[in-house]
Structures are given as structure tokens and as C-alpha cells.
Symmetry: C2
Subunit: 196 residues, 2 copies
DNA sequence: TGACAGCACGAACGTTCGTGCTATTCTACC
DNA sequence: GGTAGAATAGCACGAACGTTCGTGCTGTCA
């Protein structure tokens, strides 16, 4: 890996953490350059617009998410163990010190839901893919009879997402230390309800 | 109501809608002035800093939320009817044309959770109050035996918030028309689980 | 009629934003 | 170890940001 490529990913690493705090719009080239001891123009040359940087940040985060959360979970047996791994992986992902401001995607979701453009388009694709991973995992669980036949994958997924978003809200904004225990309890009930 | 006061609330009305789209940070005095056919300085004089404007927007939105969602719900009988009214009221609140970008608070939650300061402090107070309204309503339902004695008010509330946040995400970002039906189904199950 | 608030205006401030150019430094390969 | 080419720095730009200032309306009370 050449020097340029190394710098490039170092920028994306730092940008991902910064974006988790101030959002993709609040992300600023000058601040990013300062933090990495680069000149504004030197950093800018790696991407050719801020929009491209934002999209690359999303892709970079998604790639890391796939590696650290999704892939390990897909190695687990179908049904409850796999869903539990996705759930636990997401919580660990949010707690990761590389994301000091929580999940980049959670921040981007509400930030971009009313700002049409290529960045939002990319975010939708990535988030839809993540939702599909969950729904497909549930469906596979149903097919292998680890879950009840009448389990609705999309219903399960939407409720699971809700548990995670509410945890994010209660722990990060309201600073409630018991939020995680409640989230785990809610997920356990969701999981039990799907078992045969 | 004098002219100044009328203009003041007109600004806040418009600012609330704008903030629901671009966030409290993305809210810009120049854009707000243009939209209201005011000069930047004329508008600025009503508040004395952008921070004060942001806080007033939060208070303004909270007041409207209390009037249109909370107060009608508190007029309902304790237990399921009251919780259902809070749930329905929230959905109507998000759909309100005065909030073209969805709920201001949902946007502010992730935007400010890592930005310390007076605006965040005020948001926390308001959101904590809203969570307390829900939890208290559940507790009153338990006390009047409309809900089972082992119903945990905070657990119920956190799960309810999750259903709402997930609905916001699925409908506004992923544009899923079936999200509301799923949210209603999830809430119905949550409510049934609390009934004696 | 004259004094006085209340309200809004236009111009300008210093700063920061994203984005281009043009050098200069460094890296990797022959 | 020299040289082509990649990588970064330096500098400047136009626009937009929040904020300040002086000024001028417009209506109210003495």
C-alpha cells in the first residue's frame, strides 16, 4: 500500500469518528486537516469535493460495519444465535472508541432524511442493505424452523431497529445507564416471541 | 398582541419547520429572513444570538407538542386509551405540515447528543419531560389497575419510544409505506402485554 | 405639535466555509 | 542515485456565516 493510499484511509478513519459527533454536514475539511496535521488543500486533493468525501465516509463506515458486525454474525447458526450476534454486535459497534459520537448512520439518518442528493441516496442504499441483512436472517431462521412460521421478518426487523434506536437515544442523550439493560430485555422478549 | 410579538412568533413558527428539515445547527438566520421577507438584522434583533433562537425554537416546539399531543391525551381515561392517544398524537404530530422534515426533536436528538452547551441542556430537559409523561401515564395505569402490576413504566416507555423512532426512520428515510402499519402492530402488542 | 418607543432596514465587520491554481517536496522505481 | 510522477503545501478566491452599528420609519402619549 503506497503512501497516498495510507493517508487516504487515515483521513477516512478520522473523518468517520468526527462525523459521528458533528454529522456529515458539520464535518469540515479545515478541522479534519488540522486534526491530521495536513493542509486543507492537501487533504482536499484526496477527494475532489466535500460531497465525495461524505460518500466515502459512508462507504468506509459501512465496510467496517460489515466486517465487525455482520460477517461474524453470519458465521453463527441460523435463528436466535445469529440475531443475538447482530444485536450484540451493533451495541459493541456504537460503543467503539472509533465512534466517539455514537453510530455515524444514526446521526446521518435524521440529518439527511430531508436533504435530497447523492449523499442521501448512498445512505439509503446502505441502510436498506443493513435492514435487509436483518430481515433475511429472520427469514432464514423461519425457513430452518428456528423461528415460528408466522414470524414476519420485516416486522421483527422494524421492532429490532426500534430497540436499538431507543437505546441510542436513552443512553447518549438522556445518559440513562439502565437503558442497555432495558434494551436487552426488550430484545429478549422479541426473540422469545419468535421461537417456536 | 403587538406587532413585534406577532412577528416573533411568526419567526418561531417558520423556524420550527425549517429546523425540522435542516436541524438546529443548519438553521440559518439569512435563510430564515429570506423566507419571511425580513432583513437579517431585523430578524436578528428579535433574538440576540443564534443560540437564543435555537433555544426558543425548542421551547416553541415543545409548547405546541404539549398542546396538541400531551394535553388531549391526558384527558383520556387512564391505561390503554391514554397511551393510545399519546401514540396516535405523536404520529399525527410528525405528519403535521408545519413540520415538513419530521419531528424537530428527533432531528435534534442525534444532532446535539455530542454538542455540549445550553441548547443541548435545554433539549435534554424537554425530552426528559416527554419521557416522564409517558412513564407517569403508565404508572398511573398500573395504580388504577388498568395495567398489570408487574408492568415496568420505564421499560414500557423505552420500547414505545423505539417503535416511534423506528417508524420515523423507516418512513422518512427508507420511504416504506408499510412502516406505520408495523408500528401500530408493534404498539398494539406492547399494550396487550401490559393489560391484566 | 413634539418627544419617544418599537421595529425593521442596509451596510459592513471579521471569520470560516469549499474550492481552485501553482509550487514544492517526497516516493518509488530503473 | 537520479528521475518521473505522485503527494502535499501555499496562497487566493467568492460566498455565506453570525454579529454590530447607525439610521429611518410609524405610531403613541404628553
Amino acid at each position: 500500500m503506497g503512501k497516498g493510499e495510507r493517508t487516504h484511509t487515515a483521513i477516512l478513519d478520522h473523518a468517520t469518528g468526527l462525523a459521528s459527533q458533528v454529522g456529515l454536514t458539520g464535518l469540515t475539511i479545515g478541522a479534519l486537516a488540522d486534526a491530521l496535521d495536513l493542509s486543507k488543500s492537501g487533504l482536499f486533493a484526496h477527494f475532489h469535493s466535500k460531497e465525495a468525501l461524505q460518500i466515502e465516509v459512508l462507504n468506509h463506515a459501512a465496510q467496517r460495519f460489515t466486517e465487525t458486525v455482520i460477517r461474524p454474525a453470519l458465521a453463527k447458526p441460523r435463528g436466535a444465535p445469529r440475531m443475538q450476534a447482530l444485536f450484540d454486535g451493533w451495541i459493541a459497534w456504537v460503543r467503539d472508541e472509533a465512534l466517539p459520537g455514537g453510530c455515524v448512520f444514526v446521526a446521518a439518518n435524521t440529518e439527511l432524511d430531508d436533504r435530497p442528493g447523492p449523499v442521501r441516496d448512498r445512505l439509503v442504499v446502505l441502510q436498506q442493505a443493513w435492514v435487509n441483512v436483518m430481515a433475511t436472517s429472520v427469514r432464514k431462521g423461519v425457513e430452518s424452523e428456528a423461528f415460528r412460521a408466522d414470524t414476519d421478518p420485516k416486522q421483527f426487523t422494524q421492532e429490532m431497529v426500534g430497540i436499538l434506536l431507543s437505546l441510542h437515544f436513552h443512553s447518549r442523550l438522556l445518559n440513562d445507564p439502565r437503558a442497555e439493560a432495558r434494551a436487552r430485555r426488550a430484545f429478549k422478549a422479541l426473540l422469545e416471541g419468535a421461537k417456536p
